[in-house]
Symmetry: C2
Subunit: 355 residues, 2 copies
């Protein structure tokens, strides 16, 4: 660890413009500090001429109200919170979903002059405790609750707190909290039917842990759709596992009832799987079709390009932020479909191989 | 857009625990509100017995100071800001660097009870204006400045403001602001020498736009290292471009002086390039070696696994956050090396092909 001395500029008082106080404006306008306070807060008690002179001085000096004072007088913090559960070393956000979703949230909030506070905690209990604390301190005006689980203690915690909250996920049957959601069951059906239409009868699925609600919803829809088409099911939990491609290859090569297509519910994993299948001598889609969820730049840049389930993720983030702001402003909780999912057919899915 | 009515729970006053006020505590402790204020703020003017009774009531009620009131009395917001420049539809953070860096920043701040405010702006000028505004409003106590540019107006803007700032990047020669940095020149030399040791004499580079300082530093080191080894240089700006793999293939197949290795300064692009080269019938590393920057899960999961330049990115984020907190606490600006870069040799680099 190398250290280099630099001139003490940041944080030092020398020569820097100091933040203007009410007393400074009072001195410049040649009035009392309380007259400045009256003028800046639009209260009666001073003459129109004095008010105008004070406001002109304040404007010229580019004076802005102290945020904390504003927060105290309005009982608003001007910020919302998004909490993620993860180990410190784990990256924030998946490349294909989270980064786009958060970008949409931020874009919407920036237009409304609301700040976004991001926070990491170790587990669901810590998250609920943080909400309680934030409410007590009035640090945030509301929260977006992400990654709802099938058995999620955060719902009850938030229902008992006077902290506006919007859940990102379909919790209509599970919570009185408002939510924005995407119809993952319909999207799953779309994926299975695309593959059924290409003649596939044995479709696998690489997915995440079904304690997360969206994976549980997809799993149920996947089994329903396969049953409707009298198809066989293969499923493995999606982990970043180097043996994934070998397992898929072995399933596709077995003598009876070989796997001919796989739905991969993470774009990054789909890219790696496709590359590794090629390395193992498997042709995509000649030997096996690959269908990815979500869509993204990597899907179009890979050869073969990836057939993908596509959602307007940034728009979904924007809507979630809008909905939370509406709830903070006193709107009743409601549920809103955030975006619809379509299927973009590209090179990685094709007719089932005849064997 | 479907709307479903739900019971008006969130934001509604019915049955919810209201935030406790000083008046509530006064009523429970049977004292005046000003006595409560004295007790909670540790001021004299009440008897030790009264103080103890009030504190016991406050503790039992799980009372917490209003954050804005605390911020006013301490002149601290308890938050730091990180601003990113991008279009609303662009995802936040690269998969291989940003997500890990920000996770480290968050982990460090959470331990210190400092909040992280993330904000998106359209350009450098908007970023400087936001700093000015945040300082005026006292919204943040300091900022981490990311993605420094070779000709960056944010340095002068921040040097003239009394807002603590730490730059993430090597700006020792460019700014009086404090910075944390990684030695990208040394890392580039490491990459070139690894390839030179394998017999490569014509090494290409896929990189980002050199208006970003880290790309400019790497470009210079790359040209120096190639000159030192009497190697030829090929360079193309790294864009997510589907023709990238075809260009690399064509350079590797030309009759005279074929390209035998390429350094790719983005892990996601390196994964796609490697997959696409396989699809084009090129063997990695048989026909061409691929070396990626940064390291990450995708590098180990791909076949061939990717040789990569490795940094402790989360630790770098932690150090940046620590350094900003130290600066906010009045520490003089300094520059600190955040992490050292090593080379992890895997399957994607091998001896230069004999042609």
């Amino acid at each position: 660890m190398e250290t280099t001395a630099s001139p003490p500029t940041t944080g030092g008082p020398a020569g820097r413009p100091r933040r203007l106080t009410i007393a400074d404006i009072a001195a410049r306008a040649q009035v009392s500090p309380s007259a400045v306070s009256f003028a800046l807060n639009g209260r009666p008690g001073i003459s129109p001429e004095t008010r105008e002179r004070i406001l002109a001085v304040a404007k010229e000096a580019n004076w802005r109200p102290n945020y904390a004072a504003h927060a105290l007088s309005t009982a608003r913090s001007g910020a919302i919170g998004v909490v993620t559960i993860r180990e410190p070393e784990q990256p924030l956000w998946s490349a294909s979903f989270g980064g786009h979703f958060l970008a949409g949230v931020q874009a919407e909030l920036a237009e409304r002059d609301v700040l976004l506070i991001l926070h990491t905690v170790a587990d669901l209990e810590a998250e609920s405790a943080l909400y309680d604390r934030w409410l007590g301190e009035r640090r945030v005006d509301g929260v977006l609750v992400i990654n709802p689980e099938t058995d999620d203690p955060r719902f009850a915690a938030l229902e008992s707190l006077d902290l506006p909250a919007v859940v990102v996920g379909d919790v209509r049957d599970r919570s009185a909290l408002g939510c924005v959601w995407t119809d993952d069951a319909a999207a799953t059906t779309l994926a299975v039917e695309h593959l059924a239409g290409l003649g596939h009868r044995n479709v696998g699925r690489m997915s995440g842990d079904s304690h997360l609600l969206h994976y549980a919803i997809r799993e149920r829809a996947y089994r329903d759709a396969l049953a409707a088409h009298a198809m066989r099911t293969e499923q493995r939990t999606l982990t970043h596992d180097q043996h994934g491609a070998e397992e898929i290859r072995d399933l596709a090569r077995r003598g009876t009832d070989p796997l001919t297509a796989v739905i991969v519910e993470d774009l990054e994993v789909a890219v790696q799987l496709t590359a590794n299948l090629a390395q193992l001598g498997m042709s995509v889609p000649g030997d096996i079709s690959v269908l990815a969820w979500d869509d993204g730049a990597a899907a179009t840049l890979l050869r073969p390009s990836l057939t993908a389930l596509h959602r307007d993720i940034a728009g979904y983030g924007r809507l979630a932020a809008q909905e939370l702001v509406r709830t903070i402003d006193g709107g009743a909780p409601r549920s809103l479909q955030g975006t619809t999912t379509t299927l973009v057919a590209r090179q990685s899915t094709g007719p089932a191989p005849v064997r």
